[in-house]
Symmetry: C3
Subunit: 275 residues, 3 copies
């Protein structure tokens, strides 16, 4: 377990039109005026725990050791779902126990989990609809001030944490591999549900090989490359994205439009060139 | 009057596509490199003073005492409208005198108002179109450095401040209550033009009661609850939102779509269940 | 050449939906926890180097001396294009050598340019697709820590820098002036491809004069004013915008809609009133 470093990173589905995010920051600064607050993103689609979990998983490991992550994609706020704080090997996570923080926390090895019960550290009266303001932000700020996790409530077993429905994974039938679209970024790059290295082993492919890519609506060919810039503008490629995942991209173009896919859609890959 | 704490909070209608907001921050840091700058929101619709006034009112009270708010929704920049700085019991506000800062400042008790006249504290030459950069941001930064309000210009009476056209309020005719939609958030929750506590008294309703909700296009029923999570997904509820207002929401759904309402629309509420 | 001041300003086309921007900030804070990070904008359209160059040019000069700008609009990441760091009279710039940083750096006088070669200062392994994270952000953070430019790689001649395709400029034929739409802001104000002062000389116009404005689809009249607030709501005006450019605006309205123009479109101006 690391000492808190004073950085608080926020991830929510609150958007930047309303004042919810600003209010969370205000509450944090009121408790710890020296906190450094960084936005991961607030544009997670409403209630989309899976997308939030992936965004947190893709980004947390670049933050300084001792960062406290406040994560709020919380469709069941005000219900019986638990509010929790976790310490992992290098970080702290505060938010609802609904799978949102699981992938990241699990990857960094969960060391301690407590249920947030001690109202002494909450903003009172606690509302029924905005625990990001009344519980998660103040608890995160108190962690940066050195309050130990056990002061917030009773410990629970890491095994009892809710898991998200995100499905990494890949299936192989004969010489065809079945994947899902994990997410699509602003550039239209299509991240797939497995690590690039696992996929290249499974398909027995190397840089320069050609693969067939089929989706519900399209049949295309892609070259296996180190990066989309290794081909001509407009060509489709398969490469390792910056988070280690297999990704389909079009150099100076948009792969999700080319393939007519959206998040969650199925993609089939098959090696074209015998070796 | 509180001492400035070094936090500067920004609220504008400038959006995040253009560089206007960044330029304001740059100007502030140039005068006070130690300032902590927090965005409230920059996505107020262009020229929408009423929405800006509500956003500021909903958020200001969570900030540390001594925060300086720079507020720029300023359709008449460059005209005769006054630029002002206000000190309230706990905060400072800098911006145009057009109603934008009135609700928040008034709630915190206005203690002093000055007209911004002293060009010594402006970025010169002052442009005709961007007082956020040339007047309001530098004045806010100088306040954080300890410059007293009287140095910026002559005092004016708080009573002379322009009021915004925001209309909180509710009317009751027979057993029906007439309200307006004050704002709609990213989740489609519909905030109404009165406090929840006032509404429950007026309608003589309690948690669990059923009310009829009518809009121009829809007639629905809603349950009075502590939070939208108290009902089943898809049900409409009336509850106290996190700012104390009466709000209509759909658990894991979108109330503004369900009711076909937009900001400013009329909503009628009537108690359904006799007690 | 100035000493770095600890401010790092970011400009990218990454958007705020994905976690790319947050990851860059995390990498910077890991190297320099005391850095002050400011967003210029992340909403540059994908791959739009010209728009990025203009946004940087419009904003850089307001930042504190010693600010380090990290700029990533980088369609050719992973290809042979060079990654560079520049020192100008007052600032530092880090990013791809593709024209993005040229206008700003050139205006502030380039003093030194190095190619980023020394992997000791990179995040390793360096990915092929995200140099913003692996090269540009860490180099910027190391600059704020006092590492001299020569430590990052070999010097190159400022004359070898790639120039952007942005075309300021204006042509006059008989008594008509030909311009282009340089950019359109959130308010629909239409910035033109020349400085206001140059245009008024060329057209021999003064405040109060009337000019004819023609675009492909519209023929309108505009008054030359100090600001759009000098006319009645709904009127079209030509004025000096806050960056010194000639701009067409409608008081409390939207000039780009009125004129049916988009970025890059041609605009013809002619003086109407003889003097």
């Amino acid at each position: 377990m690391r000492s808190p470093c004073g950085v608080v990173a926020l991830l929510t589905d609150f958007g930047l039109e309303d004042v919810y995010v600003a209010v969370m920051k205000a509450v944090i600064l009121r408790i710890n005026p020296k906190a450094t607050i960084i936005d991961i993103t607030h544009n997670i689609p409403c209630f989309d725990i899976e997308k939030g979990a992936l965004a947190l998983w893709g980004s947390f490991k670049y933050f300084p050791a001792g960062t406290v992550f406040v994560c709020v994609v919380d469709p069941s706020v005000g219900s019986e779902r638990r509010g929790i704080a976790l310490a992992t090997k290098n970080y702290y996570f505060v938010g609802p126990d609904n799978g949102l923080m699981y992938l990241a926390a699990h990857e960094d090895s969960v060391e301690k989990v407590v249920v947030l019960e001690n109202e002494e550290y909450f903003l009172r009266p606690v509302s029924y609809t905005f625990h990001g303001r009344d519980i998660f932000s103040p608890v995160a700020a108190w962690i940066t001030k050195g309050v130990p996790l056990e002061d917030f409530g009773s410990s629970i077993a890491p095994e009892s944490l809710i898991k998200p429905s995100v499905k990494f994974g890949v299936e192989k039938v004969d010489n065809t591999v079945f994947l899902k679209v994990l997410y699509i970024d602003k550039f239209g790059n299509v991240a797939l549900s497995t690590r690039f290295r696992e996929l290249t082993k499974l398909l027995e492919i190397n840089y320069g090989d050609l693969i067939a890519v089929s989706t519900d609506k399209k049949l295309e060919k892609a070259v296996v490359t180190r990066t989309f810039a290794d081909v001509s503008p407009g060509e489709l490629t398969l490469y390792e994205n910056s988070f280690g995942l297999a990704e389909l991209g079009v150099f100076k173009g948009n792969a999700s439009e080319r393939l007519s896919v959206k998040r969650g859609d199925k993609v089939f890959l098959r090696r074209e060139v015998a070796k």
